[in-house]
Amino acid sequence: MGHEPIRSLELRGITKRFPGILACDHIDLSVGEHSVRALVGENGAGKTTLMNIIMGLYQPDEGHIFINGSEVRFRSPNDAFDHGIGMVHQHFMLVQNMTVAENVALGLKSSHKPFRLDLAAVRKRIIEVSERHELPVNPDAYIWHLSVGEQQRVELVKTLCLGARFLILDEPTSALTPQETDELIVKLQKMSQELSIIFISHKLHEVKSLSDTVSILRRGRIVFEGNTADHSSSSLAALMTGHEVELPRVEAATESKATGPGLLSIQSLCVLGDRGNLALDRVSLDIAPGEIVGLAGVSGNGQRELAEALNGLRAVESGSIDLDGIEIAGASAGRIIGEGMGYIPEDRDTEGIVPSFSVRENLVLKDIDDRDWSRGGFLRLGAIASNATELRERFDIRCPSTDTAAGSLSGGNIQKVILARELARGPKVLIAVYPTRGLDMGAEEFIHKQLLARRSEGVAILLISEELEEIMNLSDRVAVIYKGQILKVMPGKDATKRSLGLLMAGVADE
């Protein structure tokens, strides 16, 4: 294991294929000393794959990697660690029911003595690193006790303990509040004086504030490389997508027709989480017909539990949920569906569709007992088929045939299937949870247009999202959830990044 600093990391002609997909197409990338490089691209552009190749998790089909001018081959993450490369993944690679020290020990081969795990040595190293870089961590804490920000710190300390002199960060701020993000950026700026950093992000304002240089990846190829300072966010966005993108904004739409009492009225709702804690603490919210209410908040503050409770998938401890005059708190999922609730769930692959069922079967999944789709208990296959053909047309679902398994479609098309199904039922209320997560801008645009269209038809929409842009663009009113409580509800035009950011971090202003 060399201790010499990494003065340059160079990728030449890196190509990686997966079945049917070219994830990386002859990529050239070079990063010098003490620099912060942003790697930017839409979802699915190939960024994570490329980083996994650098980390030795994937082997490139073609191409070479050079460190300080000499070629290296990484057959496993161990090789990458030995050369001083470390990565903090988007989903933390921490074993929850082990301590910080045990997690670090997993990678710290020097602590693997023949019949003994030398945790004392690991602890020592952690404290050393943590003091040196001012990243306080407690080696004996269990991971599941720590907050998201603390866990990220553990990840950073871990990579540094393993000897990283070159740091790769994959979407480091995706689970942080704006304030935590600012703190992280300061920390990274300081670290960049000793290490080189590549970070992956699709948040252009972060790219602007942190990086020196930026590489843009589109469909597996580097389409641009240059100094960050020389470009604006919008020109970077244009380079990312290949065309000018203007997301629909609610201002462009008509004034909200919202009048009168809420179509969906949530009163003092208390719901328990999986650990027996109070996930929702007296939540009250009203959504009027023809209105989009955006619920902003860092993931994990009760959004999932709220969506589940509203749809009969989680028990309600106390409080009421009124849907157009009918009390549905504690009702079964089937009944709530019948009362006119539409739901676009968070996990499209496992909650929104049955992946092995065909597209046409998924399109009638919720209403299979309806007179339209079955008579006397027997399925009306012809009606189901023609329904699918029609919806496929209307929603532009790209699939070889409506008989194809829904799970084999791309993420955007799966979401369209879900959307088509929900909207074709003519719901009174629609709950959309992170609807555009992981989708490219084209799909995002489509979904936003659909939501706005429903809004003008008088549907009451609850939009739960982490993307502040999305919330600010689409919502008539914005609510912020923090630790299970609605801190504030404000009109859309009053919502700014700063005000939302503070609320998301729990700072309620007077």
Partner: protein, 316 residues
């Protein structure tokens, strides 16, 4: 028979009866900690019982007779490890669903043991087996002596393995890897740990233990081999591990509990209490169901990824 000696009888029988469950359970604990549950345990035990039985049967009149038992035990463990590796091939490399694959392995093991038995041995024959080894001095203690210190060497060994397995699982690097691989294999993979290799190793260990448990049954407990020797103990061992919360002490407690249910049946007969034989035999099986029903879903004390194959290429 008075109640005191009735109780004593149960305990005296209970300790050695629990050994097969304990050995198989410790092995299965390692499997499950690594994220794999092996229902084929029953079949591996059958093979272990048969292979362990063979050397004493064939070598009885030769000069190797003295070490025949030891040879049997070693061969049984090797056979068990090989079957464990076969299972690893199916569920780790081919990523087949573990439940059904386990049943397949059980049928394979059971059928092979039965076929070879019928061919090479034929009828039900006994072997001298392993004799009890009372510990001098300690075995004379009233009440505790016969219960704890008058057993075969395998019994002592099995209980000594409990702290050994505790140490291996919680204090060694390999144990750390096993636990990581069963809880968050993706994290282990990202740290350069070969998830597949650790799982193969775990299954080999689990298989060897199941083979040992089977050999114990044929050599030390029943001292013979028959088709129905295992009688579901392999499955009970798998259930045990859930019940024991994937911890060696819990597994030991579970093994003792289930064996007591079985010895209760024997003791009832010995005591002459009027109770239908078949219902008494049912007891351990009913107990398993009751225990599984009452044990609240373990809120992840143990392996969160139990039962799920690991695929690096799978999108998160």
């Amino acid at each position: 028979m008075n109640s005191g000696s009735f109780l004593l009888n149960i305990l005296i029988l209970g300790v050695p009866f629990s050994v097969a469950l304990l050995l198989a359970g410790l092995g299965e604990m390692i499997n499950q900690r690594a994220g794999i549950f092996n229902l084929g345990c029953e079949g591996i035990m059958a093979m272990g019982a048969f292979i362990g039985f063979l050397p004493p049967y064939f070598l009885a009149r030769t000069e190797l007779a003295g070490s025949a038992n030891l040879i049997g035990i070693v061969l049984a463990m090797v056979a068990g490890a090989l079957l464990g590796l076969l299972f690893a091939l199916v569920v780790v490399t081919f990523r087949a669903p573990q439940g059904i694959a386990g049943i397949g392995l059980q049928m394979l093991g059971w059928g092979t043991a039965g076929t070879l038995f019928r061919h090479y041995v034929g009828g039900v024959t006994g072997v001298p087996g392993i004799q009890p080894l009372p510990i001098p001095g300690l075995s004379k203690i009233p009440f505790l002596g016969p219960v704890l210190f008058n057993h075969t060497i395998l019994v002592y060994g099995a209980f000594l393995l409990v702290p050994v397995f505790w140490y291996v699982l919680f204090k060694t690097p390999w144990g750390l890897k096993v636990r990581a691989v069963g809880t968050y294999p993706r994290a282990a993979d990202s740290m350069g740990i070969n998830v597949a290799r650790v799982r193969y190793q775990a299954l080999a260990v689990g298989g060897a233990m199941a083979g040992l448990a089977g050999a114990y049954l044929s050599l030390a407990q029943a001292r013979m081999f028959a088709d129905d020797l295992i009688a579901g103990r392999g499955f009970i061992a798998v259930a045990l591990v859930y019940f024991g919360r994937w911890h060696p002490v819990g597994v030991m407690g579970g093994a003792l509990l289930f064996s007591l249910a079985q010895t209760l049946q024997l003791s009832i007969q010995v005591a002459g209490i009027k109770f239908p034989y078949e219902f008494a035999v049912m007891l351990p099986y009913i107990l398993v169901i009751v225990v599984l029903a009452l044990v609240r879903k373990a809120k992840m004390v143990g392996p969160t990824e139990l039962g799920k194959p690991f695929d690096r290429e799978q999108r998160v």
